[in-house]
């Protein structure tokens, strides 16, 4: 099951339920979805539709209540917390709406962080950091701190951090949510380039249909935790 028909990610009736007091919240409810290797998929949905929860499950940040999530054939649900950490550090890279850069570190230090966690040799790190920042056009800002950068630059730095460990999958959670439309466009163009140039699988969570339609190969729609529209599955029917 190295990849199910070339799937980078396959979710099989995956659910994530929470209890809040006596109420059961079905954040993700029996979602079956397949993301092919090299595909740019947009998960579209309104707020609370469960798209970020599904992304977190794919990232290995959260565990499903039921169902299976396969990343290149490996079931995340059966992994130990250490194996999940390795999956987060090496197989996937993440970009967040809030950038999530560490404010007291320089850009170079922020981008170096995943390399430290993956125990990459020190001698190799500086080159990899510079390469990642060059790719997003920030190689001149190595020593700047996040607070000295614009929102777009911060998101690009976050993208460089997500790419520095050369992951196979990039998971982006509302990457343009905190940016103006022009800067958002730039970021998505960058994601598109990365997808095209490196054949990197990208799963992007967004609520902006227009952007998703412009840049993603496929749009899957979630509502109330359920996958309500997936062209792939419709095609299979």
């Amino acid at each position: 099951m190295a990849d199910r028909n070339g799937a980078a990610i396959h979710t099989d009736e995956v659910s994530r339920h929470y209890t809040m007091g006596t109420a059961l919240i079905r954040a993700v409810d029996e979602v079956t979805l397949e993301v092919r290797a090299g595909e740019f998929l947009a998960l579209l949905g309104s707020s609370g539709s469960g798209k970020s929860t599904l992304l977190n499950l794919m990232a290995g940040l959260d565990r499903p209540t039921s169902g299976a999530i396969l990343a290149f054939g490996h079931d995340l649900a059966g992994m130990s917390s250490q194996e999940l950490a390795r999956h987060r550090g090496r197989t996937v890279g993440m970009v967040f709406q809030a950038f999530n850069l560490l404010p007291r570190m320089t850009l170079a230090e922020n981008v170096e962080l995943p390399l430290r966690l993956a125990e990459v040799e020190r001698s190799e790190r500086a080159g990899r950091v510079r390469e990642a920042l060059e790719r997003v056009g920030l190689d001149a800002r190595l020593t700047h701190r996040p607070g000295e950068l614009s929102g777009g630059e911060q998101q690009r730095a976050a993208l460089a951090r997500a790419l520095v460990n050369r992951p196979k999958i990039l998971l982006a959670d509302e990457p343009t949510g905190n940016l103006d439309s022009h800067t958002g466009d730039e970021i998505l163009q960058l994601l598109g380039e990365i997808n095209t140039s490196f054949g990197m699988t990208i799963v992007m969570v967004t609520h902006e249909r227009a952007l998703a339609e412009r840049f993603a190969h496929r749009i899957a729609l979630l509502a109330d935790g359920k996958l309500v529209k997936d062209p792939e599955r419709e095609g299979q029917r």
């Binding site: 990232a59 940040l61 966690l117 993956a118």
Partner: protein, 456 residues
């Protein structure tokens, strides 16, 4: 995560909340300082006691007497002894034999006799003790005014201050003066021929009726006045009111009190001197037992204060434990500070922990990071605390010496910080800090990354 990366990240995190972490570290430092200060005083006192005892010569000394001293009187008893070697006399050949034992530094006899001392027309009875040259470095002669004997056979005397006061109101004025010693010299005597049995069927020959007494006078130059009473150890120089060089005492051949007892033995009829006891100085306290055993093998009675040393070591070990416990109390309080600081850090860095986990940090990495921070605070606090404790110890030592000086007492070093205390205190601080970090570290490691990333 590799150790160096862990250390770098921990150091960076500690720098971020500099004031709080510094205060926590200072708390540890105060705890370690109290531990080091109390233990350094305990160790210092122990070393002082050991030093004193070593210099007193009590604990590296074996006291030897003849078995004859503890048997019945006369040759009859000797005849009954199944093993004649077991009751050999403590004579010069025996002294030399003991002197040749391994680790024996010096063997000298106890010579103590009563005499009349005359100075400026005033006469006093005094006990005179022979003192070996090695006594110069002994604690017994520490408070000596004037000087020690100029040579092993110098015709000089040192007076105990109370005795000196009986001769003159200002004892110091005696130094450089001459006094006259009147004593009884022991001389040989012919055994009366044709003597008959005196009692119990024993012959006069068995008693070896002993020695003649010749009145003698000797002028001695007073070189020193001893302020203190030089010990009361068996075989030591105690119980003497006046001291003369041992070789001079041997040359004078004075009649000793113990010789009245030995008078009843044949031994005094021999030409070689018989000693009532010998003092054997051993190279170190560790060798005392071996020498004591060897002397017993030679057929003499041997006695040392080794057991007393062991009791003393036990006492100081217990004292150190108590001091350590009291000193550690402050460190225990400081460990609560570490827990508080790290728990606060978890709250403040909740989002950061989430980011680290999203970037590939495992629970173990997060736990190790918090441990590293706790350990670093412990290490810094430990090092600072040792320096602080060292300073406190020095101040106490200085204050004590100031007090001793004002009391006209000699300076003493009552404080000591050996390397094991430095290493132990720092190690203990790190250990306590790591223990304090267990709860915060596991709490941080268990944080749900999704929740942590949502935290504002």
């Amino acid at each position: 995560m590799k150790a160096l990366d862990l250390a770098e990240l921990a150091a960076r995190n500690l720098r971020e909340a500099l004031l709080r972490n510094t205060l926590t570290t200072l708390g540890i430092a105060v705890g370690v300082a109290s531990l080091v200060a109390t233990l350094s005083l305990g160790v210092g006192l122990q070393e002082l006691a050991s030093r004193r005892l070593a210099r007193s010569g009590l604990f590296d000394t074996v006291y030897v007497t003849s078995r004859q001293n503890f048997r019945g009187l006369g040759g009859a008893a000797r005849r009954l002894d199944p093993n004649p070697e077991q009751s050999r006399p403590l004579d010069e050949p025996a002294r030399q034999q003991i002197e040749h034992l391994a680790n024996v530094v010096e063997v000298y006899p106890e010579i103590r006799f009563t005499t009349e001392v005359s100075y400026a027309g005033r006469k006093q009875l005094a006990t005179v003790a022979g003192v070996p040259p090695s006594a110069r470095s002994s604690d017994a002669f520490e408070g000596l005014q004037g000087g020690f004997f100029s040579g092993p056979e110098a015709e000089e005397a040192i007076l105990q201050v109370d005795f000196a006061r009986e001769l003159i109101s200002q004892p110091a004025a005696l130094i450089g003066q001459t006094l006259l010693l009147r004593y009884a010299e022991r001389g040989p005597v012919e055994t009366p021929k044709g003597s008959r049995s005196v009692s119990g069927g024993l012959n006069v020959d068995d008693f070896g009726l002993g020695f003649s007494v010749i009145p003698r006078e000797k002028s001695l130059h007073i070189v020193g006045i001893l302020e203190t009473d030089p010990g009361i150890a068996p075989g030591g120089f105690g119980r003497g009111r006046m001291f003369i060089p041992l070789q001079l005492a041997q040359r004078l051949k004075p009649v000793q009190v113990t010789e009245l007892r030995d008078l009843m033995r044949a031994s005094l009829s021999s030409t070689t001197p018989i000693y009532s006891s010998l003092t054997v100085h051993v190279s170190s306290a560790k060798q005392v037992q071996a020498v004591e055993d060897a002397v017993k093998q030679m057929g003499f009675l041997a006695f040392s204060l080794l057991d007393a040393t062991r009791s003393l070591q036990r006492f100081f070990a217990i004292l150190d434990v108590f001091l350590g416990i009291f000193g550690s109390l402050a460190l225990a309080v400081a460990s609560l500070g570490i827990i508080n600081t790290l728990v606060m850090a978890i709250l403040e860095r909740r989002r950061e922990i989430g980011i680290l986990k999203a970037l590939g940090a495992g629970d173990r990495d997060v736990r190790q990071l918090f441990f590293a921070e706790a350990g670093a605070m412990g290490l810094a606090g430990g090092a600072l605390g040792v320096a602080l404790g060292w300073s406190i110890g020095r101040v106490i030592n200085f204050g004590t010496n100031l007090y001793l000086h004002r009391q006209n007492l000699p300076r003493e070093n009552i404080w000591s910080v050996p390397w094991w205390l430095v290493a132990g205190a720092i190690g203990f601080a790190v250990l306590v800090s790591l223990a304090a970090g267990i709860y915060p570290a596991s709490r941080a490691a268990r944080l749900d990354p999704v929740q942590a990333l949502r935290y504002e």
